[in-house]
């Protein structure tokens, strides 16, 4: 009698555990690693959170603990004039991006955790400044998320331009998942859209909704750490850290709800469920979700053709498994995944440089150029 009960029970247990541990297809492949190598461009940065290119030989790099470098031919020059940065948990100096017309106006944007209110804690902000040599001038706060909190998690935030006079940036749920992401009146768990001068576009989705934050473009996000424009389709692509087994790639559309924490493919770090719902009406599905979670950070398409067979493909850093993930897409679906630069280190950021090569930010190392032999 006992055995009869035990057998189906063990089958069920086996089935459920294998479901949890099974990798979401396509299963990642590891090609021959001898065809890849790197060249060190900048050395000695603990957490190179963000970067952008002034030219092939000149890069702006943020170090999370609150340093901005202007790197010229590999030599780091510290840039002065940053506001006071709130360094706690995952927060600090975050992303940096050159204004689309930087060559004529020298304007840069950066995101950082700050506290300008004088209470406890901090939250994500977006700044604009003019770069003059090695100093920032006309530093202007464009957006500051509220409320401040001492929570260590989920500050966001990549900065992306759409080529039509807007910039996007993301703010994570700030460790308050049951309050922030689904409430349009509170910051956190959102992607924001502003005009380049910091003003709010008149056609933002929630400008006429009472109580909603007018800068919000999409909501229901956990922690966006990678964002880029699709080079051909003009879509805004984003990746975000989910809970265990719930990291996602999304295409961000105006006014849409991406579901966190009402729907998710992930579970709590402790293994307990968050919800049994993976889909709901009026909530967007990711185009891909990672099981197991890779902790995606940074996101870039290879557009240049300098790498054989990589043109049009997507690249995402894995903080957790220390490699660069190469994703091949067909008709909006991930059809193949590969590990590039296995064990390179915690991969924080990936961008395509003006020379068409991919550049990666690696914790404890700095900025490396990806070379395919």
């Amino acid at each position: 009698m006992k055995k009869i009960f035990l057998l189906p029970l063990s089958v069920v247990i086996f089935y459920t555990t294998s479901c949890i541990s099974q990798e979401n297809p396509p299963v990642i492949e590891t090609p021959d690693q001898s065809q890849y190598t790197t060249e060190t461009i900048v050395e000695g940065i603990d957490i190179p959170w963000g970067m952008d290119f002034i030219s092939e030989n000149e890069i702006l790099v943020t170090e999370k603990k609150g340093i901005l470098y202007r790197v010229i031919n590999g030599v780091k020059n510290e840039v002065s004039g940053l506001p006071e940065i709130y360094v706690r948990g995952q927060g600090g100096l975050l992303d940096i991006a050159l204004h689309p017309d930087f060559k004529s106006n020298n304007i840069i944007y950066f995101t950082a955790a700050i506290n300008v209110e004088g209470d406890e804690g901090g939250n994500t902000s977006l700044y604009k400044a003019t770069l003059k040599g090695n100093s920032l001038e006309e530093v202007k706060l464009l957006y500051k998320a509220l409320p401040n909190t001492k929570k260590g998690q989920h500050y966001g935030s990549r900065i992306v331009f759409d080529g039509q006079g807007h910039l996007f940036f993301g703010i994570g749920d700030r460790g308050n998942r049951d309050v922030n992401p689904q409430n349009l009146g509170i910051d956190g768990g959102k992607i924001y859209r502003l005009n380049l001068d910091g003003s709010i576009p008149v056609d933002n989705p929630f400008v006429n909704q009472e109580g909603a934050i007018a800068a919000v473009y999409s909501y229901g996000h956990r922690n966006p750490q990678g964002m880029t424009m699709h080079p051909k389709k003009g879509e805004l692509w984003e990746n975000e850290h989910g809970p265990k087994g719930g990291d996602e790639i999304n295409i961000i559309e105006k006014g849409k709800n991406y579901g966190w924490p009402v729907i998710t493919y992930g579970i709590n770090y402790s293994g307990t469920p968050i919800t049994d719902k993976r889909a709901m009406p009026n909530m967007e599905q990711p185009i891909y979700y990672w099981v197991p979670s890779i902790a995606p950070s940074g996101m870039a398409f290879s557009t240049s053709g300098v790498y054989k067979k990589w043109k049009g493909d997507l690249f995402v850093g894995s903080l957790k498994f220390k490699y660069l993930e190469h994703l091949i897409l067909k008709r909006g679906k991930v059809v193949k995944r590969e590990k590039i630069l296995v064990d390179i280190g915690r991969l924080r950021n990936v961008k395509e440089g003006p020379d068409g090569y991919l550049y990666i930010g690696v914790d404890g190392k700095g900025i490396l150029k990806v070379i395919k032999k």
């Binding site: 603990k65 927060g91 929570k151 260590g152 914790d363």
Partner: protein
Amino acid sequence: MKLILITFCALLLMQFSWLQQNKPLEQSISDGAEIYQDFCLQCHLDTGEGVSGVFPPLANSDYLLNNIDLSIKGIKYGLSGPIVVNDEEYDGVMANQGLDNEEIADVMNYILNSWGNKSNDIITIERIAQVTE
């Protein structure tokens, strides 16, 4: 008489401020558990086991249990470069999390008394303050 009263009051005040600074161990451990959830769990996991070769374990960790002040220093100022934990080498970066001395004392008391770890040392705020870069 006045002097005795003043002394008494001063002593009372001193004791009060000491109590304020260093709460009972159980309280410190439970406050530390909250800090752990917030700042440490993502890498070291809720079992304290870490990830072999990537994030060093805290559970039964020889590095932690034999180098308490060095561990405090790692939390307070960040830790990078190669270390050996339970005969395995780790060469990563743990960023300074921006915790204050009380929070570091709490989280130390939590990790020193969790997952089978046992320590006779009760970590005080004063001890955290004494650890320098």
